[in-house]
Symmetry: C2
């Protein structure tokens, strides 16, 4: 493998090398990388802005996270937040800090993943910052999107009687992470054993290469549904549903039997002696969309739509309830990932 | 000193504690902290976006950088970039990552400085991200501003014959940093000796608490001057002037005798056996505005305006020249801070 030291390049040449392959998709992007600030031409409506800061050793482990996937995912998690506002991302900024452990080739891998995400989602990289770190990789992404004033969807807005819906399936990313962590431990103990990830594309893919559900935002527009509230599932279903309830000042009733769990997730959870439902409730990092709709809208969805009704919004006085498969009522508790408590 | 552990709080309570004291100044801020993304109502014109990533040990040294000042400066450096586009910042996002070395009280100090900057510049904190770091403090700020389409000022646009102007004075921040570094070394060698910073408010202040030159952007509007090009002096006068030349495809002639250097900067540079002009040319972190104007506009400035004409733009064929006090011509070379080369 070729190895070019970053110190041989200097900041400006590095930025040029990393960003020159990026295309511009939006006429609203008047000026991207290269001046004191990027310039966007406004149009009517609303702009949404979200940002994430990711640190090696805290948010990702490069021993099993390929740099290309990391670049892709660090963009997608921000796009997912814009989706959760019912918006469409048009621009991103990406800042990175790197120790001298990283070669130019490694950073190019990272940017290849960022570029792949930009190309897939048709978004423009308009700026960022590049510097050294004493140790480890730091990535900060800001996404800027647009939404129609009539379509903006907050966490607040859910009303008693609304149906709780979720896209895709839950718990897969968490189970994929467990698998990668186990294979890492085996590898540390015996480097001759190759990781066994065969037939685990779904759960490993959901963790390493999640897609923001831009297709669901598009579907909602096509079906002329504006959810009464929406959030992306990043902390875990229970924690994120409770966010909607607290912001909307309502209660909820969630049916365990309705929670969509992929067969691979289910089987792997059992192998790890975890309850699959617990993985779906508390796993997090699913980046699916959790939203509430007026019950009259529910029949607009068909089986093909990859959206499931999993519960209903109730008056706050009813509390936050999980109805188990055996029809018992439990309190729903937030036990999602809380990075501050690590 | 009271010490509250961050781990006793959790992420959501911490965010609430840190952001609850912030005011909202702009009606364009529809939704700030608290949802998946912030929401800004668009109006006609352009939006400018800039972002910076700051790492402890690389961009700042907490042994002499008070956290309150650091919070203030990390906002100001982004505001300075928006000023350099001839724009006005309306919103910022701030992301931080902290190791368990930091107490709640320490983080509150940092946010006190951020809040002071927001209050001084009348900008809205609309979002961010808060997480743990394995080591050291990381701060990422994104600033979002507005500019009239007729007033947007890029690095490109300077024409032969234009006058090169700069606000304030140069080299002070660099000299202030040298002084702080020296006092730190003395303190390490003998902790009984208190730092001697007396009468050095100007140079230490320019380093620890720089102000983005929003007053100059306002002045330009009042005088009805739209610069032909503009940049903020962050890398150093020579490096930043060369940026303007390269982007505008022109040459320049800079007069050493015209470069504004504060008396305190001059004297301290000599104490360190540095050439004061070299400090001004290559020091960086001045956060003054460097811009070019049509010569017909020059007489709009008065002595009071804190803006100096320091040279002129030439044809590219003339190269990039520094005319020394003894009237000799030297090539202007970029030797500013390049963090990637550290």
């Amino acid at each position: 493998m070729e190895r070019t030291e970053l110190s041989d390049l200097g900041e400006f040449k590095l930025i040029e090398k990393l960003t020159s392959k990026f295309k511009t998709y939006h006429p609203s992007t008047v000026r991207g990388v290269g001046d004191d600030a990027a310039v966007i031409k406004n149009r009517s409506g609303l702009t949404v802005v979200t940002t994430d800061l990711l640190l090696e050793g805290v948010h990702f482990d490069l021993s099993y996270f390929p740099l290309k996937h990391l670049g892709y995912k660090s963009v997608m998690v921000n796009l997912s937040d814009v989706c959760a506002m019912n918006g469409k991302t048009e621009q991103i900024t990406v800042s990175i800090a790197l120790s001298n452990r990283f070669s130019l080739e490694a950073v190019e891998e990272l940017y290849e993943g960022i570029r792949y995400a930009c190309s897939y989602a048709e978004i423009d990289l308009i700026g960022g910052d590049t510097s050294t770190s004493l140790k480890g990789l730091v990535i900060s992404v800001t996404a800027i999107g647009t939404v129609d004033e009539k379509k903006i969807t907050y966490r607040k807005g859910a009303k008693a009687g609304d149906i709780i819906c979720v896209s895709g399936d839950l718990g897969a990313a968490y189970t994929g992470l467990q698998l990668l962590e186990r294979e890492k431990q085996i590898f540390i103990e015996n480097p001759d054993i190759q990781p066994d990830l065969e037939n685990q594309e779904h759960i490993v893919g959901k963790f390493l290469k999640p897609d923001a559900r831009m297709d669901i935002v598009k579907l909602l527009a096509e079906l002329e549904i504006v959810p009464t509230s929406m959030i992306d599932v990043s902390d875990g279903l229970s924690s994120d549903l409770l966010h909607i309830c607290h912001h909307s000042n309502v209660g909820c009733k969630l049916f365990e039997s309705k929670i969509p769990i992929h067969g691979d997730t289910y089987n792997m959870a059992l192998k790890f002696q975890h309850d699959p439902t617990t993985c779906a409730l508390n796993g997090g990092e699913d980046y699916e969309l959790l939203f509430t709709i007026d019950p009259a809208e529910l029949n607009k969805f068909t089986e093909d739509h990859n959206v499931r009704a999993i519960g209903e919004i109730t008056d706050k006085a009813h509390g936050y309830k999980l109805i188990s498969k055996s029809n018992n009522e439990h309190d729903l508790i937030a036990q999602g990932w809380q990075h501050m408590n690590q």
